[in-house]
Subunit: 135 residues, 2 copies
Amino acid sequence: MKKIDILKKLRSSGLRPTKQRVEIARFLFEREKTFHFTVESLNKFFEKKTTSKIALATIYNTVHAFKNAGHLSEVEVRGKKTYFDTNVSNHHHFYDSDTSELIDIDANDVIIQKIPKAPNGKKIKNIEVFINLKN
Amino acid sequence: MKKIDILKKLRSSGLRPTKQRVEIARFLFEREKTFHFTVESLNKFFEKKTTSKIALATIYNTVHAFKNAGHLSEVEVRGKKTYFDTNVSNHHHFYDSDTSELIDIDANDVIIQKIPKAPNGKKIKNIEVFINLKN
DNA sequence: TTTTCACTTTAGAATCATTATAAACTAAAA
DNA sequence: TTTTAGTTTATAATGATTCTAAAGTGAAAA
Ligand SMILES: [Mn+2]
Ligand SMILES: [Mn+2]
Ligand SMILES: [Zn+2]
Ligand SMILES: [Zn+2]
């Protein structure tokens, strides 16, 4: 992902490209593969980089802005912390409760043959499949 | 569910049948159909019954004991509160985010034709399907 | 019957992720 | 240069959950 795209992501989220926000955006989006993270893990990363300490509130605010703009999705995982995902396409997950690790499953790798009708007056928005793992 | 089964559920959870625990167990298990609840909803119910106020800590303790004994399951739902389920069989859920309501789907009503292999060294424990609803 | 004692209940404190607040800061525009 | 809207930040507040420690309960022992 190029720098111009980082700026585009920020602008489309209603965020001015400040130093802190650009750093967060680069960490999230300047990589080969998408990944899953928590606010805590993000914060730890920036704490280690002594060059740049970013306030926790700024991390929360920026992550939420990206999420609201559709640049991040939220994955529901057992436990207290909220997991975010830079993969915003329709996909599924393996979940390894031993390591608390999420692994993406491409939507095409899951075929559902039969599902029940939606309740009266409701429609199906999307289907999420979680495959829980054990050793 | 008969009173003897209530006592059985308590005993198999390592709990003596005290007045409070029996009340909780009867509310959870003495009904035709299984249901989903939060600790908050349980607590509200007992607050209304002026005959019996049960401390929040007792509700938490009892619910966790039932869960550990396999008499309750936990359903992962978006949002802060933990949802419990008196349906402990393998099944799936509709989730209506408008009303925060969970609706059971029988395991037989979902047929999955294709799933990916588990990652190296891991096995599949179970599969959970969430069908999110909209209006 | 009285005492003992392990188990319970309970109110309130502590924890921890998240959200809110409000003061200081920044930089573009006037 | 001044204004101003937007931003960062430290800290406080919130809310679900867990912990704690003191008081209560009741079955069995003495
Ligand atoms: Mn969760
Ligand atoms: Mn949840
Ligand atoms: Zn993912
Ligand atoms: Zn259910």
